[in-house]
Symmetry: C2
Subunit: 244 residues, 2 copies
């Protein structure tokens, strides 16, 4: 008997942001796979096997999930946020491409509240006008590609959501990104540092990009750089709908 | 007594995609404001007043919501998708900027599953690598700005989510957008037309951009143009994590 594979987004952390569709998938799963801290968000119960794994293990995890589903398990691969935004869904389809024997497995992708939407809502509406999302990790793409995209995003006057700005293994990229954006004339834009949004240790601060310091970001931080019109009203930050 | 103002995202249409946080806000509201088809998604009950209004009424609706909250009502302004992405949150902060007397009202923005995440999940993972979101409506920005952003997005090799591609009052912009993207060398990219995602009349089709016709989009359609590496695996479309 064939099982099923569901790739589900748990949202940014707060259980009130998990969709009913995802909760139902977790409730009927036999196996949960994912990065250890995300699997830890799933409540254990009899009949449910948890398979936590390290990050940078995405492709191996995806292949294991396909194999378990092919053996009849009802497998859920969990991501934080949305599984389709810099998360597990692409890894599963990469694994599927390498394994034609599993091409007909019943697969579903269930969306979730990705970090930039949760962070934006907390501070106002900085993504209310055209925007882009850039993953600052250069594990899987050349740094030159990231630089080029930052420059073009600044020229396009997009608000810029920066995922994975900085980690212990990549301490320097974010400092270079800030320099590139300042060079591109974005020094006067607002930069929002949103850490652990919706979790108990949530912290959010906004500064002028020219005053931003690399240490303000870590691997739990999502950074949103406003567009040239993004502004404050009271304690809120928002992008006006109008543009020149 | 002061009321409250909540700006909430209802997701793309299916109730299983409404977060528990939003459901709770709807359950305790006294007044719901929004574009008529979105207000129609809220179940009526005694003690709840529904205030449907036309689109293009965003600023007037936002001001009315603030006024009702200031008079002690618990007001929820509903948007489809996420309220912070081309929706009501920016309009509320614009209205707040014009009305300093309401600056201290308790306001919350509750995120939702925006159309591009729901559409992406349905077809695979076309937003699994860097991407941008562009609102094709030129009601509030010059068409030249839209053109410039499309060209820069193509040059950056972003996947491009196009919101509001085409409507009865703007029949021609999307055809021009397709020409711009073809001129920019994107003719071979995959273009996903996702209509009424998660609703009963959902329809999704994928073609090469060079084969896309303007009539494939209407005001209920979200278009995602893949990046240069976006590809098919079986019935799925995804952006690989790796880039050159």
């Amino acid at each position: 008997m064939t099982g099923t594979l569901t790739i589900a987004g748990l949202g940014p952390g707060n259980e009130a942001l998990v969709t009913p569709e995802v909760s139902a998938a977790l409730a009927s799963a036999t196996d949960i796979l994912g990065y250890t801290p995300y699997v830890a968000r799933v409540v254990p119960r009899p009949g449910l096997k948890l398979h936590p794994s390290d990050n940078r293990e995405e492709l191996r995890r995806a292949t294991e999930a396909l194999r378990l589903a092919s053996e009849g398990h009802d497998v859920v691969v969990v991501s934080s946020g949305d599984p389709g935004v810099f998360a597990m869904a692409s890894a599963v389809f990469e694994a599927l491409e390498a394994a034609p024997q599993w091409r007909d497995l019943p697969i579903r992708v269930l969306p979730g509240i990705t970090a930039m939407l949760a962070a934006a809502a907390r501070i106002g509406a900085p993504l209310g006008h055209d925007f882009c999302a850039i993953n600052l990790s250069d594990n899987l793409k050349p740094w030159a590609t990231i630089e080029k995209r930052l420059r073009l995003a600044a020229e396009a006057d997009f608000a810029i959501a920066i995922y994975n700005p900085r980690s212990a293994s990549r301490p320097d990229g974010f400092a270079r990104a800030l320099e590139i954006l300042k060079d591109a004339g974005c020094g006067g834009r607002l930069a929002i540092f949103a850490r652990a949004i919706s979790a108990p240790d949530e912290k959010i601060e906004t500064v002028s990009l020219q005053d931003a310091r690399p240490e303000m970001a870590d691997m739990k931080t999502l950074v949103i750089v406003g567009n040239s019109a993004t502004r404050r009203v009271g304690r809120w930050i928002y992008a006006p709908r109008q543009a020149r």
